[in-house]
Amino acid sequence: MRNSFKKVYLLISVLMVVMLAACSEDETNATSEKSGGPVSAKIGVISYMTGPGAAYGEAITNGFNLALDEINEKGDVKIELIIEDSAGKQDQALTVAQKLMSSDDIVALLGPTLSTEMNVVGPEADINGIPIMGTSTTAAGIPQIGEYVFRNSIPESLAIPAALEKAVNKYGAKKVAILYGNDDLFTQSGFDTMKAEAENMGLEILTIETFQKGQSDYNAQLTKIKDLQPDLILASALYNEGAVIMDQARKMGIDLPFVGGNGFNSPQVIEIAGEASEGLIVATPWFGEKDDPKVQDFVKKYETEYGHKPDQFAAQAYDALYIMAEGLKNAGVADRDALRDALAEIKDLDGILGKFSFDEDGDVIMEPTVLIIKDGAFQQFE
């Protein structure tokens, strides 16, 4: 009896010691050399790599790694990435940001993946004076957190109006119905933009319906929408719920076009909903079929490397690292403040997403592409 306690106790103490040791393992690595030649710098990446949203984090880190190899090969700047997982939780994102920020040779942060995480990490980075750039944070108000906070992901406030405007012009819509998920930051923020934009354009909003994450039956909401006979349905949903909504709508005989936000924009929609997905209109920074050698080159490289087609998260991450590299090159030194100033100056940088500039807040200025699902594929919507 006593022996077994002894063993258990020993085990616990050993485990604790190992853990404490592991907690403070790093920081012995070499510091960046500053002797002439190209600027070499370390950039911390906070990504969502374990948990339900790990697919986003994986695409993002793949995008970074692909860009990293190219940039280092080119040799204008030497970048080293230190990638850490946040598990999609705010507290872990904050802890790991502290870890990265407290190491003096890290000059900038990329990520975190979710807007909720950015709301926590952004202010801390701003206070510590380290530039931070979100590659997938699309909620309103992110770059306004502080002058060290940037993003290169198109916010809903840019994407949705573009899609809505084209759709309204094409179909001559006057009455719309809105459907949105109200328990998610992403879809909620998309809805706010939709409503504001619809009011702005003088459209009549017939009804506003809500649903929750993981819901499987949307018949109640769709029946109501059908009875009101709108010209267009605006749906702020993530693709997994959105695809099911479209499927049920088509089965019910609603043949109207849907306008969605950024989260609705995924090839998965076609896979899940099949023919029912025809007529979904979204605006996106990323269009993989674009007739641009740069884009095609990226798609090909990504496919050979990772075995599947890149999505917009990979593309945004890829461009983000190029923006950082450009900033470092212009700054000339691996210094946090110099890098911030250089980033703010970036104008019309050619990337795979298009011409990219920051506005005075550190938000994106860019023309999104509007796409529609037709004949089982995303196509440019004219």
């Binding site: 006593r2 306690f5 258990v8 106790y9 616990i12 604790m16 190992v18 853990m19 404490l20 592991a22 907690c23 403070s24 393992e25 790599m49 374990t50 948990g51 850490e84 997982d85 598990a87 705010q90 507290d91 872990q92 904050l94 802890t95 790991v96 502290q98 870890k99 920020m101 407290s102 909720t116 709301n119 926590v120 202010p123 206070i127 510590n128 909620a139 108000g141 109200n182 328990d183 998610d184 930051l185 909620q188 923020s189």
Partner: protein
């Protein structure tokens, strides 16, 4: 000097550990009277939102906000506790879990005040606000050889540590008092306790409310340490996490909750070096734990054995009799 030792990363982890310890104690207290409550995430949310909204909208000092957050959570604890404690065991667990979800859904839907799932940002930060007051008195962290953010997080950790010591001290005292004995008696056998003249409704509501107050208190601290909260923070995952702190560490003793919260907070950070696999290890440890030591790591006999060991060692080396240490 001091500036070289103190790393904001470690301070951040420690401050989360300290908050989680309060949460661990909150569920330990309800468990100590034999109630399994899963509503603590809801109470935590009430505390967090109360304090955050009061400090944002009415410029209340943070300390007052945190105390009010705990009080409001406590009021809800009494209101929920009186009807809910007619239930017991699994039924109580499900009812309280339901309560937690109701609270979360209210935060999501009460958009005019809580801003729905967008969450509340711009909550005054405990450390940063204190830092401002220190600045006004002419104090500069440079005098201690510290950077601003080191100083801010050091302040947070020190305050949390103080709060933790007071709480642990209070609950250890309570356990040895009439109230603690009553809790233990109810846990062992409700009927027997009642026949001994213990007012079980009173004590059950008391322990439930104490748990609610503590959870609300921890929630309010959480809000002012994160400076941003959203309803998703207080979903049932959180309730389960809190339960694990106490069950893993051992639910018989307060030390179990403290150990569980510490271990479970450090674990994901310490396993960072194996990146993708860390949550697998986390799961394996939980399963192994439940299989080999279902009563939790720390239980009464382990503590006794440990005390005896300590006694023997000291008694042996100093040549002092063992009686003194009893």
């Amino acid at each position: 000097m001091l500036g070289d030792i103190i790393n904001p990363y470690h301070l951040q982890i420690i401050s989360f550990i300290l908050i989680n310890i309060i949460l661990g104690i909150s569920i330990y207290i309800t468990l100590s009277s034999g109630q399994l409550s899963l509503g603590n995430a809801g109470f935590m949310g009430i505390g967090a939102y109360t304090s955050a909204l009061l400090t944002i909208n009415f410029d209340l000092p943070i300390f007052l906000g945190i105390i009010l957050g705990a009080v409001v959570a406590g009021v809800f604890g009494i209101l929920i506790g009186i009807p809910a404690l007619r239930l017991s065991g699994v039924y109580l667990a499900i009812a309280t879990l339901g309560f937690g979800e109701v609270i979360r859904v209210i935060f999501v839907n009460w958009e005019s005040i809580t801003q729905g799932s967008i969450g509340l940002s711009g909550i005054p930060h405990l450390g940063r606000e204190l830092f401002k007051t220190f600045k006004l008195t002419g104090f500069d962290p440079d005098m201690l050889g510290l950077k601003n953010n080191q100083f801010i997080y050091l302040l947070v950790v020190l305050i949390l540590l103080l709060v933790n010591i007071l709480l642990v001290w209070f609950f250890i005292r309570q356990n040895k008092s009439r109230v603690g004995r009553a809790f233990a008696a109810i846990k062992m056998d409700e009927k027997a306790a009642e026949s001994m003249g213990i007012n079980i409704t009173y004590y059950k509501v008391l322990s439930f409310t104490q748990g609610a107050i503590l959870a609300g208190f921890a929630g309010a601290l959480y809000a002012h340490v994160m400076a941003y909260i959203s309803p998703a923070d207080f979903a049932y995952h959180r309730a389960i996490d809190i339960l694990i702190f106490s069950i893993f560490g051992g639910s018989e003793l307060i030390w179990g909750a403290i150990f569980g919260a510490t271990f479970m907070t450090i674990l994901p950070e310490a396993l960072r070096f194996i990146s993708d696999y860390r949550y697998m290890i986390y799961g394996v440890i939980l399963i192994a734990m439940m299989a080999f030591r279902p009563q939790g790591i720390i239980d009464v006999s382990l503590l006794k054995w440990f005390k005896k060991k300590l006694k023997l060692k000291r008694g042996g080396s100093l040549g002092i009799g063992t009686k003194k240490y009893n």
